[in-house]
Symmetry: C2
Subunit: 114 residues, 2 copies
DNA sequence: CCGAATCCTACATGATACTG
DNA sequence: CAGTATCATGTAGGATTCGG
């Protein structure tokens, strides 16, 4: 994922950090994925069903990004057929509140238009 | 709250709204732009200086997006040479708190890694 | 069932030159 | 100064197929 960092600093560290996170969250499917996972653990195939138009490649990519950033954790059972679930990490839970605020803000602004 | 949804719907309206906003905010430069504007009104050329690697085309695009969503307002003086400033709208101000929360959350998570 | 590996295309971004 | 107009390009995302 290319977030090129200019050699000369154009932003403060905390700001770049947040920009990076926004870039990540703004990536297609990520917000939706987080939303669905905040409703409880989901299996790979469940997520595919919930997001009908996502390709397996991208779904895997996104989930990898999420686990890499420790927003989500992968839980695998060793039985056959193997069963993999994805569940929000504590850190991911921490995001819920913020995203929820964003939802409220977006909705409020939308109401005001009418 | 458990109101049923048409099956063609992939997500609830408020959710789509927030996803749309995240997509917008996650677009390159937008968060940075908002950040700089939250420090006070800025002129076009100032923004160019603050974001050395942005092209005029994209800067204009982003500013149009911002004004279109009423996050930012454009203020023009009729004197010569003409002077255009961009300033955060009330709605844009409302975002500041949320973005600030995100900054804090990101920073906290980052500290915890070490 | 859960992915990995390819291939392909559209769009987002960047560079540059030009205008009111 | 504050943009617009073009052109070039990288990469994100989609479709499909294969493998453990």
């Amino acid at each position: 994922m290319g977030s090129p960092m200019p050699e000369t600093t154009v932003c403060r560290p905390d700001e770049c950090l947040a920009e990076d996170w926004l870039g990540f969250l703004g990536h297609r499917w990520n917000a939706l994925l987080l939303w669905h996972l905040s409703g409880g653990p989901k299996r790979y195939s469940e997520l595919q069903a919930l997001l009908p138009r996502i390709s397996p490649k991208v779904l895997t990519e996104r989930l990898a990004g999420m686990t890499g950033r420790d927003l989500v954790r992968r839980v695998e059972s060793n039985v056959y057929p193997r069963e993999v679930s994805y569940v929000l990490s504590p850190r991911g839970e921490g995001l819920r509140g913020i995203l929820s605020d964003l939802y409220d803000w977006a909705e409020a602004g939308d109401m005001a238009k009418s």
